[in-house]
Amino acid sequence: MRAAILAGALAVATAVHAAGAQTKRAPARAPSAGDSITALVDSLGRDPNGVAIERSAVESGPRTVPAGTTVNGSIGSFHGPLDVRGTVTGNAVALGGDVVVHSGGVVRGDAIALGGHVQLDGGTVQGEMRSLSALTVGPLAKSAPRTPAQATKRSLSLAVGWYLVLAVIGLFAALFARGNLENIAERIRDDFSRCFFYGVVGQIAFLPALVVCIVALCITVIGILLIPFAIVGFVLGGAGAIALGFLAMSYMTGEAAMRWRGAVSPYTPPPVVQFLFIGLSLYFVLWMVGGLLSWAGWFGALIRLVAAMVTWVAVTVGFGATLASRGGTRAPGGRVPPPRTPPTIPDASWQTPTPVSGVAAARRPTPPPRSVQR
């Protein structure tokens, strides 16, 4: 039942994250005046649906092939339409405009419009008429760069999305895997530097270990069938360990912050959820600052670099602690934590209730005073 509840809640968390990281449909970018003609011509030649044309054949602005004239070879316009009324013996290409073949106009090669259309207005195209929304290779293949506002918005969205997801997952980890979380945190507290070392080694050894696993499966021959499952399981396990470790590190960070403020009482059980959220929030603040400064050029990049470094250290230490504690199943010192059992109640305790008002003690019998014999 718990697992089902957990699964449902985490599915919601995952959905939230997925919404945050929704795929962007990069719009096709038409050629603009800022683009280099040379780069465009080069990319057009390499595009599977493009065509080769000499750089010298392309000129900026609208172009016209007058009626009765012949262009030997190809002709191209850049950022303007290409009107063909005469004859073009090669290709007619418009980069960022339309190719219009008017009545009497003849194109013996292909008519190609990049970011425009090929219109047949009574003319003849002996080759192919082709319209490309954009290129698939070269500089124009990439979507338009983000504006500072868009970059800031995206960075903030990502930070908020990750925070929400980790908060929800952390909440459930605190509720259902509290023991593991505490053991990992205890391991970090016990030996921070060793956990960091384990984390670095674990990250470096991750892929080689996967390869070894695959080779071992290959050796067994029958295990070859299990290789796809092993790969998926290995990757899932690694990512899960990293995430659990980071949550434990957040818990530790939150606890340290509260202790610094003197808000931790040694006489009450540690508020795990509170520590976890405070720790997560501290990391979140770092990323928020980095996101808010996305417009600030190198300074923003520096802040994001700091945030990334801090987060990496936290992830590495947490991952190392997770490995060292075998997923939080072992407390520091190698001991297996005793299973949690409810406190035992003496069998007979209920049989002798004590009145709230207390029990009047009976007077202890004392021997009578001796009489003096005279």
Binding site: L6, N49, R130, S133, I169
Partner: protein
Amino acid sequence: MRARRHSLAVLVFALVAAHVPAARSQVWRTVTASRQRGAADSLRLHVYFGAGTFNIMPATEPLLYTLDLRFDANRVRPMHHYDAATNTLTIRSDSAIGHPFSLDLKRTGFNFNGPGDDRNGTDLSLGLARGVPLDLSLTLGACDATLDLSNLSVRRLHLETGASQTTMTFSAPNPVAMTSMQLDIGAAGLTVNSLGNARAANVQVSAGVGGADLDLGGTWTGTMHLVLSAALGGITLRVPQDVGIEARVAKTLGSLDAADLTERDGVYHSANWTTATRTIVIDATATLAGLEITRE
């Protein structure tokens, strides 16, 4: 204790799921191409199409072909080529960038490219000239295909499908007699409407795990020779009432369901076999498969 273990397992899974970012961004591109008919007296078409939606229809304008392609440039790089010397148009959109199965670790997460993954598949619509003899060779992967060959002059047709769901329609008689028609069906299904309008004297159908539903309706005369091979799947033939049927069926753990036919010396005949003006001769092989012949 068990509940706790389950919780942990689910937790780990969810943690991982949360760390798998959504698929990488899509970069949609469109290519529209067409060619004037010119002096072309025929057209050979070779299509290799992977995942997505594929349509063939008669061109609305007097052009040799029109081609509308929409694709995600991050996943596929379709190309097409026309050889004017042989009047051959080749279209390829059948491979994901990199390996068909690939984990893309270049970005922040991983993205699984599978050959049958048509979540972001390519859309290809092809218009073909009427009145121009066509030789069609179509190799389809995992896609939804609609082939409207009505009013097209199809001279040869070779269709090979993987896991695609294909519907083929001949709503009007083929202007030319089809000399060869070969349909190889993989793991999905094929539905052919009014196959009789194809005017194919010889039809070969090979069905794998998938099934085929062939409607032999339409306008045709003479005798049609149908060679069927079914393994694991099933083939259903819908034959008009006036058509005489002769069937030879080799069954290996297969079955034949044809209530209208009577067997004599290992050959099945319909009651009107000797009197029918148009007939169909079926040579079928059914291995762990079923063959059903119904009357329409």
